[in-house]
Structures are given as structure tokens and as C-alpha cells.
């Protein structure tokens, strides 16, 4: 291969800043996810390249570039141990962009950089979508288009002109894009599944629970999901969003392992009373759990099943925001019969741990007459004795239940749920722990319920022969206000104080609710515009039985109409400037003479030639020309125009 010349002549200076700007904008949303060395490498390449162009230096040689490329590729492999997926993909794109810059010598080479920018923007959108993402998308498209125009623009053209042209073209493209977006048929099932790196997706929940290991609970105000109730809005104390169920305890950690034998539990459900119908818009969790109030009887999410403990689970992890409809019952009776095998499973506790707690349970159970009385006694113990609810409890060590019950007596929901379930099992009552969310705040502006990560909660379910599985929330015995009001006010008071305007925390809260209402609408109508929403919208537009054929037909028809419209607009832009009336009359006169003015011949010269020619009367030619010169260059009035008109008509 012939080595390319490596000199630079500053010819890229007109477009390079815009190209770098486009790349920078495209890369910005990826920065939190990219290893720091990749950021530094790409920014370094950009700065290096710019200074080379500015000082008209030589580009680095092929060997330097090759070495860098190899090092970066190995670096990505080592960092990610893979090259597929959005994470390593965007890392590779960032590296490629940086390295491509170092061999970009001609203006046209920048095409590659702009295409990389487009891909980077797209992959950032795949990763996360916010309210402002659309704005980001438009701005970066505009910068990319401007850079694209700068690439082939003449030297004399200013960046402003390119920007204006780019904006104009984008404006023309916008209606086309909107129509295509609305009518392009959405499909429900993906073609393939590539993991999207949403490591920033936070969840208040994890798959196991070890009270005392984490000594503080995150009070994240991030939204876990939003709910829109069809008619009945259940009271806060009935809003238990079940997520996952933990059934096995090793003395320290509760986990979700389950007995594998037996019939699916969902067959043993009896429900009564009014159903609650609602739609949940769940933020991505990367987990399989699907949240619903108590016992869901039907749900609209694909590939989702009810597990053996009546919890909903999806086959694919939830990598993107999903919306689903659920019908739930809060009055239910599940598993009236619990086979011995299951019974034993839900009673299992490790023999040699938390001995004091187990001893306490035996004493209390023998002191009380029935299982129900025993449950009440334990709750009363939490209520009457010195047990505190705190978000920052002391660590518990190797026998967490003992230590919590007898020594520290401080904890949050997990501690109480764990201790309660242990006390139940020790006394021969089957018990399990449920993780999910409790409560939520109604947004008065949007009318929907916001459930935040800080609403994450843990509670227990015990099995009694009379009732089947029955929910007991031991935390409620300690801190009932948390169950009734939620944690939100606490959190916002703190935020207000941090920023030094505690008095207006209410205002801040309202602001945040407004933003949330906007966000909810945005999610419902734009980000969540899927097969179902689209179908509804098409029906609203008046389409009978919408299917993809009809939508495509509508799309093509409207797009063609729009293109014809745009073509007409362009034609208008490129039309001839309107001739003034004097000029029109002059050309009528020219036609009458039967002669052609030469290129560049003035009207007066032409008239002289016509006069010499002699076919027309010298005097009338003179009249026309004087009137024309007056009308054209004299003060603008109708009199001279009229004279011109008369003079021309006189000849005809």
C-alpha cells in the first residue's frame, strides 16, 4: 500500500471544529458509562488533531496509528471482555472516531466521523431516554448537518450560512419525520436480544436480603414506576406492590430459592370483592420482577408468568421502560391447602444460629394460646418495647436476628421483616418475606401514582390454616406513620435544607411534581408509543381495524404528498425574482422592434440601434426609451409608468 502524504494545509479548519463538536455532542451522554481512559484517549486525539491542523504539522505515521489502534482494541477487550452490546460498542465507536481523526487528511474523510457521530447519538438513545433527550437529539442532528455542509462548502461561506441551510433542511425534513414516526407500524417482539448496558438503572431492591450487612438505606427519589388507576384508587395502606418472594434463610441472608415440586400455586387462588384495574409504567430494572398490587389475576405484559409464590416474573429482564395493564384483587385467599413438603420448606431455619431468638419464640408461643394470639404478641412486643425505626441502623454481625432483637433494637423494614419471619418459623408457623414497594404518592397534576425507589419495602406473609397466606407488616407495628404517609416528605425536607431554603421545600416539591407529570405524559405518549398505543391512536384517527398494511399505505400516501409540497416550496425558493412593470413593458417594446438586444447592451444603446435601423419611427422609439428610463430609474410614480405604457401601445 502506498503511504498517504501526511502533511496538513489548514484546509480542514473550516469544518473540523464542527466535526469535533458533533463528535463531542454525540459522545457526551456516553461519558458516565465509558471507562475514563477511553474518554481521555478520544478527547486527546481530538485536541491533537486540531492542533496539527492549526499549526499545519504532519499527521502521525501509519505505525503510530496502528499501534494506538491495537492498544485501544486490546484495552476495550480487557475492560469489557467482549465487543458486542451497547457498552463495548459505544466504547469502540469512541475509539474509532478518535483514531479516524488522526488519519483524516481530506475534507471528505470526515464523512466517516459524522456517520460515527450519528451511531453514537443513536446508541445513547437506546441506553436511556429522558424528557430532554428529544432536544438533545435535535441539537446534535443540527450540529452534524452543519458539519456535513461545512465539509464541502466554498471558502467564502460562513459557518452561519451553513447552519442556516442545515436548519432549513431539517425544518423541511421534520414533517416527514413526524408522519413516518406516527404511522410506521410498531412491532411487539424484538428480532434479537442484545444486552443494553443500563448499569445506572437503580433499584431499591436486590435479589437477596441480608439485614445488617448494609447499614444504610438509599433514599433515592428516582421513580421506580408510575401507575394510572382506571377507577378505584386503593388507600395507601392497601398499596403493597409485590415484587419478589424470599423463602430460604441461612441464618444471615434470605434468598429466593423455592421448592421445585408441586403444582403451580396460581391454581389455588380465590378472590372476592372489587377488582382494581391499573396501568403500570415500569422504569428499566435489568431484573425479571414485575410489580403488581397483591394478587394480580390478569396482566398484559408479554412473556410474563406468575411464579409459585404468586409473584409476576418476566422471561427477559426489563431493559427498557415497559407499560402493562393489571387487574388485581386485595381480598383473596391463596393456598388453603399447604402440602407437608411446602410446609416444611417454609418452616426451615438453620439449627445453630440465632439461638436466643429461637428460644424466645418457643417461650412466647407456649405462653400464648393460638397462632393468631402469638402473632399479635410478637407485634405487640415491637410496638410496646423499645424498638426504633431508623434508616441508619448499626451493623449486626453473624447472628443478626439475635443481635437485632436483644441488643441494637434499631432497624428498618428488612430488619423487622427478617426477625418476624424468623420468630414465626421458630414457632412452627410457615412464613416468607416479600420485597416490593409500599405506598406511593399521587401526583395531583397528572392524576397518577408515583412510586419511588425510596418506597421500597419488605414485609412478611404467614400461612394459617384458616386464611391461607396472610400479609403481616411488622414494620407497621413500630412506625405506623411510615405506612400511612410514606417517606417522601422526609426526603424532600432534607433536600430543601441541603440547598439552604428549607422554607420553600414545599415549592420545590411542587416543581418536582410538575416535572414528573410532564415526564409521565411524555412517557405515555412518546417514549411508550408502542403497538397498543399506536393501535388506539389509529382508531382515534378513524382507521378501522388498524393493521400494518393500512398504516404503511397511509404513511406512503402522506409522505408522497408532503414531498410534493416540499418540492413546491423549493420551487418557490428558486423562482425568478418578479420583474417590475417597467421591465415587462420594455420587453414588450423589444418584441415589437423585431430585434434582439445584445448581451450587456443598455436600453439607450439598443434604442439608438433601433432608431438607426429605421423600421420604427424615430420619435416613438425615443418616447418609449425616455419614459422607460424615467419609470425605471426616476422617482417611483405611476405617471411615468403610464407614459411608458402609452408609448409602447402607440407603437403596437
Amino acid at each position: 500500500m502506498k503511504a498517504q502524504p501526511r502533511g496538513t494545509d489548514g484546509s480542514l479548519l473550516a469544518s473540523l471544529p464542527w466535526t469535533l463538536g458533533a463528535l463531542g455532542l454525540a459522545l457526551a451522554p456516553h461519558l458516565p458509562y465509558l471507562p475514563i481512559w477511553i474518554t481521555i484517549a478520544s478527547l486527546g486525539c481530538a485536541a491533537w488533531r486540531y492542533s496539527i491542523e492549526k499549526r499545519r504539522r504532519m499527521l502521525p505515521s501509519r505505525w503510530v496509528r496502528g499501534g494506538l489502534a491495537l492498544a485501544c482494541f486490546v484495552g476495550v477487550l480487557v475492560t469489557y471482555s467482549s465487543v458486542s452490546g451497547v457498552g463495548p460498542g459505544s466504547a469502540l465507536l469512541a475509539i474509532m472516531a478518535g483514531l479516524k481523526l488522526l488519519e483524516t487528511r481530506r475534507r471528505r474523510d470526515q464523512f466517516v466521523l459524522l456517520f460515527i457521530s450519528i451511531f453514537l447519538v443513536m446508541s445513547s438513545l437506546l441506553r436511556e431516554q429522558y424528557l430532554w433527550s428529544l432536544l438533545y437529539l435535535i441539537v446534535s442532528t443540527l450540529v452534524i448537518l452543519t458539519a456535513w455542509l461545512r465539509m464541502s462548502a466554498a471558502e467564502s461561506e460562513t459557518a452561519r450560512q451553513s447552519f442556516v441551510t442545515g436548519s432549513r433542511l431539517l425544518l423541511y425534513a421534520a414533517p416527514l419525520a413526524i408522519v413516518m414516526w406516527v404511522f410506521f407500524p410498531r412491532i411487539a417482539t424484538p428480532f434479537w436480544a442484545v444486552p443494553i448496558d443500563t448499569s445506572r438503572a437503580t433499584s431499591g431492591l436486590s435479589a437477596t436480603m441480608s439485614p445488617g450487612d448494609i447499614s444504610s438505606l438509599s433514599m433515592s427519589n428516582e421513580v421506580a414506576f408510575r401507575v394510572r388507576f382506571a377507577d378505584i384508587v386503593p388507600a395507601p395502606r392497601d398499596r403493597y406492590w409485590r415484587g419478589l418472594v424470599l423463602t430460604s434463610f441461612n441464618g444471615r441472608t434470605w434468598a429466593g430459592t423455592e421448592p421445585r415440586i408441586g403444582s403451580p400455586a396460581s391454581k389455588q387462588i380465590a378472590v372476592r370483592g372489587e377488582p382494581i384495574t391499573y396501568e403500570v409504567t415500569l422504569e428499566p430494572t435489568r431484573q425479571h420482577w414485575v410489580f403488581a398490587i397483591d394478587i394480580p389475576m390478569s396482566w398484559s405484559l408479554d412473556n410474563t408468568f406468575m411464579g409459585p409464590q404468586q409473584q409476576l416474573m418476566r422471561v427477559h429482564p426489563i431493559d427498557q421502560r415497559v407499560a402493562y395493564e393489571v387487574v388485581s384483587y386485595v381480598d383473596y385467599r391463596i393456598e388453603a391447602e399447604l402440602p407437608k413438603l411446602f410446609r416444611d420448606w417454609y418452616l426451615k431455619i438453620p439449627d445453630n444460629s440465632n439461638r436466643r431468638a429461637a428460644e424466645l419464640a418457643r417461650q412466647m408461643r407456649s405462653a400464648t394460646g393460638s397462632d393468631v394470639a402469638y402473632i399479635e404478641a410478637v407485634l405487640a412486643k415491637f410496638h410496646n418495647e423499645e424498638y426504633y425505626y431508623t434508616l441508619e441502623p448499626p451493623p449486626l454481625g453473624s447472628s443478626p436476628v439475635d443481635r437485632f432483637l436483644f441488643d441494637t433494637r434499631r432497624g428498618f423494614c428488612e430488619h423487622y421483616a427478617s426477625a418476624f419471619a424468623f420468630l414465626m418459623r421458630s414457632a412452627g408457623i410457615p412464613a416468607r418475606i416479600v420485597l416490593g414497594y409500599q405506598g406511593g404518592e399521587i401526583n395531583p397534576l397528572g392524576g397518577h401514582l408515583i412510586v419511588r425507589q425510596s418506597d421500597a419495602h419488605a414485609w412478611t406473609e404467614v400461612w394459617l390454616p384458616e386464611t391461607g397466606w396472610y400479609r403481616v407488616d411488622p414494620t407497621a407495628a413500630v412506625a405506623p406513620e411510615r405506612i400511612d404517609y410514606g417517606t417522601l416528605d422526609v426526603a424532600f425536607d432534607g433536600l430543601g435544607a441541603t440547598w439552604g431554603f428549607a422554607a420553600s421545600s414545599q415549592l420545590l416539591h411542587r416543581l418536582s411534581l410538575t416535572l414528573d407529570a410532564l415526564n409521565a405524559r411524555w412517557n405515555d405518549w412518546v417514549l411508550g408509543y408502542g403497538p397498543d398505543t399506536q393501535k388506539k391512536f389509529m382508531e382515534w384517527l378513524g382507521m378501522q381495524d388498524p393493521d400494518w398494511r393500512k398504516m404503511m399505505l397511509t404513511l406512503v400516501t402522506i409522505v408522497i404528498a408532503l414531498i410534493i409540497l416540499i418540492s413546491g416550496l423549493l420551487m418557490l425558493r428558486y423562482r425568478k425574482p418578479a420583474q417590475d412593470r417597467a421591465a415587462i413593458l420594455y420587453w414588450r417594446f423589444v418584441k415589437q422592434t423585431g430585434m434582439q438586444p445584445h448581451l450587456g447592451e443598455t436600453a439607450a444603446d439598443f434604442a439608438r440601434r433601433v432608431a438607426v435601423d429605421g423600421t420604427l419611427d424615430r420619435q416613438s422609439v425615443n418616447n418609449v426609451i425616455t419614459a422607460y428610463l424615467d419609470a425605471r430609474y426616476g422617482p417611483a410614480d405611476d405617471a411615468s409608468l403610464l407614459r411608458l405604457k402609452n408609448a409602447v401601445t402607440a407603437i403596437g
Partner: protein
Amino acid sequence: MSSIQWPFPSPARVLDTLRSGATRRVRRWARKRQGIDALSTKLRPGRVYILPTGVGLVFAIMIFAMLLGSMNYNNNLSFVLTFILIGIGFVAMHQCQRNLVGLELSFAGTDAVFAGQSIQFRIAITNQSKSARYGIRLYSDSEHSDAHDLQPGESTIFLLPVATQSRGWVSLNRFGIRTLFPFELFRAWAWLHMDLRGLAYPCPTKQPPEPPPTMVAHGHRQHDARGEEDFAGLRKYNEGDPPRHIAWKAFARSGQLFSKQFAGADTSSQWFDFNEIAASDVEQRLSILTSWIVSADRTLEDYGLRIPGKEFAPAHGVTHRRQCLEALALFDRDET
């Protein structure tokens, strides 16, 4: 091993042949459809053709991939990005075509060159519309002009070089105008068939033999040894008169240029005669004559030219030089 020959033509060559064949056919069709163009022609929409460029094809593939990705993840914002780019593609196509439609192309002459040099065909392009035109370029089969922008109402002369090999008329039966604006996704072009021609003089020989000595022929002028010092009067300035002969005082008085005439100014008049050159080859003789004329013109000497069938009396100046060289260029050619 190395002697083994692949029995089929290489795919690249097959493709090339196919492509050039197709191009020829399309061009013939366009020519038949459009007819011969006037020397000043306005581009109607119907004769501006458009096709995607290589970049455009890559762009299309990229958009297709983006569409698949958006569908796969059901990601509405990446749908937005994809559809904006598709929209941009459509708009760019129309904008690209509109960038040419309505332009007026007029032939604005050529300058004659010596065989072997390129003739610059001057084409004036006028933009009579309300919007600027960007990145306009003229091209022929082998060459192209620089790209220029045309502001509203602006008229610019484009130079389209055409290579010459031998003396005589060089015709340019077809040339094109094209643009890649705005995003180089599409190439819009139009073919023009204007029947243009330019003249190539014979190529001057590098080392010509000594020109014939100064002669006094046919008694046109008397040889006079008085030299230039003898001022003989003023005459109107002619193009090509030596600047040192300009009467600046007369210019200051009247505002008109006059040249001083000297009795004896034609002391060095020469005759260049085709038949008196030793070389046998016609082209070689013409080349020698050309180089003599060029050097005589440079030293401002009067010279006459005699070729079979034509004779130019000794004189000097731009017009004389042109007439002589034209005669040489078209010697023995039927064309006029």
C-alpha cells in the same frame, strides 16, 4: 505456476465494460431526447438527472440498520432520529436537483492554444433565481472545472479544460454540469450538447532552425538605414505597439493613445515561407513556422507569412499573429 492464466476476464473489467456500455447507451438516449442545444441554454427540470452517490448508498445502508435497531428495541427516540435522517435524504434529493434547475449556460468563447495544451472552454453560468446555488461544477469526459457558488443574480465564467493532441479544431460536443450539494448524498447532473469548438495552433518546435534573414520582398517597403531615431509622425495606437513608442505627451493633451512612427521602423521585416523550409514533413514545417512567428511576435518584429494558397503581408500585432497562426492551424484542413 506463475504462467497459469485466469481464463476469464476479471470481474472488475467486466463491470467496467458493462458500465461504460450502459453510460454510452444512456448518453445516446439523452442526446436523442434533448436534441442539439442552443449556445445559450436554460436547464429545464426534465433534463436534470439525479442518482445517489457512493456516500448516499452508505448512508442508506446505515439508515436501514438504524431502522432495524429502532424496531428491535422499540425505541421511539431512535425512531425519531432514523426518520429525521430519512426525511433529510428526501429533502436533500429535491434540493440537489433544484440546485441545477433554471441555471442558464452560455458559451463565452475559448482562447486558442498550441497543440498539446488544454483549451479552456469558457461557459458563463447565470443564476437568475432568488436563491444561491452551491458547488456547481462543469465536466467533460476527462476533465472538470473548479466548483463555484452562484449568488442570486450572479453570472460566473467557468473554465472547462479540454486536452488537445494535434492542430486544428477541437470540438466539445457534450459536456455536463453537476452538483453534489447539499450533503453529497446525491449527484444531480445535466448533459449539454452545444457543438462547441476551439482552435489548437500547431505546436511550436523546441529548437527551430534559424529564421530566414531579413528580406525586402516585392518592394512593399524600401529598406532604409536611417534607424528609429527619425521621428515620422503620430498614428492611432494599435494593440501590440511597443509601450516605449506611446506618445505620452499627446496622451496628456488629448486623452487618446498615439504611437510614434519612425521612418525606418520596418527595418527588420521578415518573410516566413512554407516552401523554403528544409524539413520534408508538413507538420514539422508548420511547427517551425509557428515557433518563428511566436518569437518574432515577442521581439515586435514585422513578419509576413506565405503558405500555399495564402499570404499575409509583413506586419505585427495581436490580430496579425492570430490570423497567421489560424492559417497554420487550419492548413490543409477542409474545415473553416
